[in-house]
């Protein structure tokens, strides 16, 4: 009895000690956050009062920008150069915080979870935009854009911005880039030239077939069509024919005006393209490991003639540089704008930002100020790049893409059409982008964001089924007449009907409130 009491006493003392320690730290924390909250409140009131007018009247503030990428050697140097420039403009300094792609999701999730203080963060549909909005990690931007981000609105246009709305609010400003996807093929230029192939004559898969057969016959060491890594003959239809409405399970037919969610395996085109793919596969026009390859394999090695690819203007130049030999592109369909292509990459404000007004002013500058965006993308003039003309730059002598001390991905930030171009890029690239955007057909469901939460078990099951069948079918590795019915059955068993019904319900809801 007394032994028990003694034990209880010790435990009680221990618990008390721990709670004291914790309470101490807790107090300290809340104190410090209180302390930092009050000046920021006064800052923000000052900021709203003055608008964008005088930079000197704004209190100094450090904006933290978190983005994925490698840490370059001269980060500090560029950071202070940008800070100097920003101090002039909006009396702010900047902290650049690159995070490796590999640890991006872990690190940012922990930053959100621990309520770490930072201002601007990269987001995208594929980087958890919708889940982070649902978690409340981002700030709604409508008012901020109206107050401090008029240039953003001017550059992007309302249609694009509202494509990102979640429950009536915008949570991110997309990079001004291509807002549509088009599908087609990349061809090895050496072979195109050798056989005088007129790419303009290739407008359908039927047009492509004789060319592939000719290559197979005349170039024994070359695979006519390389497939792998989500680049299949069938991707043409999957990406070009439908709006995948998020995850691609339950889709909209692009050519229909009805907001009706359908099962893609029941559309005749799906079977058609799979049949073509299978014929090509059987005839040896496609590499045998098509369904399992996870890289650019033979194409990158220069041992293949063509590869299916999602295209934008200048994609061929980009891949030529990356692979080290020239390729040319041919687009087979009209570009298509969907929620996913609009939400491709954007900048969001963190809920923990202490001065969202200033962060928005900075975003506004990214869309309007040419000098700032180029500094952020390419570093300091005459050190990291030299100007060749008003719009073109090159690396300084003795430096190349691998050895340069600073370089960011231009497609990640703000108004990409204000950025300089390298000599290997088309000088008219940005015009071509605008043209491409204008040309694009907009999905009737543009702006609809699919929330898979209510049916997440079904979606997980369907994802597994699709892994098992999809690549094999659309790459042509198996006979579609046999496997598409099997695939459909498996999808149904996994609960596709329920997912489609839920999607339809959300879509109708969205259409009502649009």
């Amino acid at each position: 009895m007394s032994a028990l009491k003694k034990k209880m006493f010790t435990i009680a003392v221990f618990v008390l000690c721990i709670s004291l320690v914790m309470a101490g730290c807790g107090n300290k924390n809340s104190d410090s956050s209180k302390g930092s909250a009050s000046p920021s409140a006064s800052q923000s009131s000052a900021a709203t009062g003055n608008g964008e007018g005088g930079a000197s009247e704004l209190k100094p503030y450090k904006i933290t920008l978190v983005y994925p990428g490698d840490t370059p050697k001269d980060l500090q140097e560029v950071q202070s150069a940008i800070s100097e420039y920003l101090t002039e403009k909006i009396n702010a300094t900047i902290e650049l915080k690159p995070i490796d792609w590999g640890s991006w999701l872990e690190k940012t999730n922990l930053m959100f979870a621990s309520k770490e203080k930072f201002d601007i963060v990269i987001s995208a549909a594929t980087l958890g935009y919708y889940s982070n909005v649902a978690k409340g990690a981002y700030l709604p931007l409508d008012d901020l854009i109206a107050q401090h981000g008029r240039d953003i609105q001017g550059v992007l246009g309302d249609e694009i911005l509202s494509g990102l709305k979640v429950k009536g609010q915008i949570y991110g400003t997309p990079t001004n880039k291509e807002f549509a996807g088009a599908n087609g093929f990349l061809f090895n230029k050496a072979l195109v030239d050798k056989y005088n192939i007129d790419l303009n004559q290739i407008n359908t898969l039927e047009d492509l077939e004789p060319v592939l057969r000719m290559i197979k016959e005349k170039e024994p060491g070359i695979t006519p069509l390389f497939e792998g890594n989500n680049r299949f003959v069938g991707s043409l239809v999957l990406n070009g024919q439908y709006d995948g409405l998020g995850d691609g399970f339950g889709v909209l037919n692009r050519n229909s005006d009805a907001l009706t969610v359908i099962d893609k395996t029941e559309v005749p085109e799906y079977l058609e393209v799979a049949k073509i793919a299978h014929r090509w596969y059987k005839d040896g026009l496609i590499n045998k490991d098509a369904a399992t390859v996870k890289d650019w394999g033979l194409m990158q090695a220069g041992k293949a003639f063509a590869v299916q690819q999602e295209l934008k203007p200048g994609k061929d130049a980009e891949m030529s540089t990356a692979w080290g030999f020239p390729v040319v592109q041919k687009q087979l369909d009209v570009p298509y704008t969907t929620t996913v292509t609009v939400a491709g990459i954007m900048l969001a404000l963190s809920k923990t930002s202490e001065n969202p007004e200033r962060a928005m002013m900075f975003l506004n500058l990214l869309y309007s100020d040419k000098k700032l965006i180029n500094m952020l993308d390419f570093g300091i003039e005459n050190k990291h790049f030299v100007k060749k003309s008003d719009t073109a730059i090159d690396y300084p002598e003795g430096v190349d893409a691998k050895t340069v001390g600073y370089r960011n991905e231009a497609w990640m930030f703000g108004n990409q059409m204000n950025t300089y171009l390298f000599p290997n890029e088309d000088p008219n690239k940005w015009n071509a982008f605008s043209e491409f955007n204008k040309q694009a057909e907009k999905s009737i469901a543009l702006g609809f964001a699919w929330d898979s939460e209510p049916v997440k078990n079904e979606v997980a099951a369907i994802t597994n089924v699709s892994k098992q069948f999809e690549d094999a079918i659309i790459s042509g590795s198996v006979d579609p007449e046999v496997y598409i019915p099997k695939y459909r059955e498996a999808l149904k068993a996994a609960g596709l009907d329920k997912v489609i019904a839920e999607k339809q319900k959300q879509l109708d809801e969205w259409a009502k409130n649009k």
Binding site: C25, G102, W104, K107, L110, N229, G297, Q309, G344, A401
Partner: protein, 313 residues
Amino acid sequence: MNATTNAALPSSQSSPKRIRENSSVAQFLIHVFFVLACAACLIPLILVAIVSLTDERSILANGYSFFPEKFSLDAYRYLLGDAQRLLNAYGISILVTVVGTVTSLLISSLLAYPLSRKDFPQRNLLAFFVFFTILFNGGLVPWYLVYTNLFHIKDTLFALLVPNLLMNGFYILIMRTFFTTSIPGSLIESAQIDGAGEWRTFFRIVLPLSLPVLATIGLFTTLGYWNDWFNSLVFIYDNRLISLQYLMTKTLLSIQFLQSNTQNSNVGKLLTEMPTETVRMAMAIIGIGPIVLAYPFFQKYLVKGLTVGAVKG
């Protein structure tokens, strides 16, 4: 090995020799088994080494091969071109491993020793706390919060030393068992009678007698520190502070991540800028580095240490 079995075969007439023959057949089989097991461990390593020395284009065209078409030192040249980053990461890894292992051993033994003493008050309660942490922990986010918001060790070397690695309940229980079973209570008693204080008893008598367990736990923690990349991933933003293993892991993780995000056409381009297959293999070879040397050093104690507490009672 074949030579010895062959030599044993001809002289197998009398019965004792037959036994020897039997045993030598068994010996032969055992040897074959272990040669195969050994090969199963070594061949992948050799393949990695060969791939790291292969020309990139021949890998793209033919896949991995033990007999590549064309050898090339490009991968190593590429890595040495960025030698500073590599050396820096090496330095961090070695520093963290040495400091971490020594501190960890000291703290662990200082906790395990009192737990092994029967005259230590409330030792069961304390042991329960140790035991409890083996079974339960707070989960990733609270764990992260404690280290970043309470201890503020984010982006410092402490982040590589302290979390998860400094103390492991399981190691402490192993040590305690060793202390209780291998160090006779009478020895400690006699030391006390001779006038040794607790510290002297611990450092001069107990620790020297516990080399096997220290070496075993030491090896485990050394490996733990050397192979740890998760703490770098979670806590470190400064490129100068990342460990060698993370330097390599992050390349792999980035490639994996980019591959699963190929809908974004820009990401597809990034993928082609990642280090090539051969470079990754060369990194693995370089990463094996000094840790291989640690094995023979610890091996002598390893078996002894692992059977600690197994038979004695």
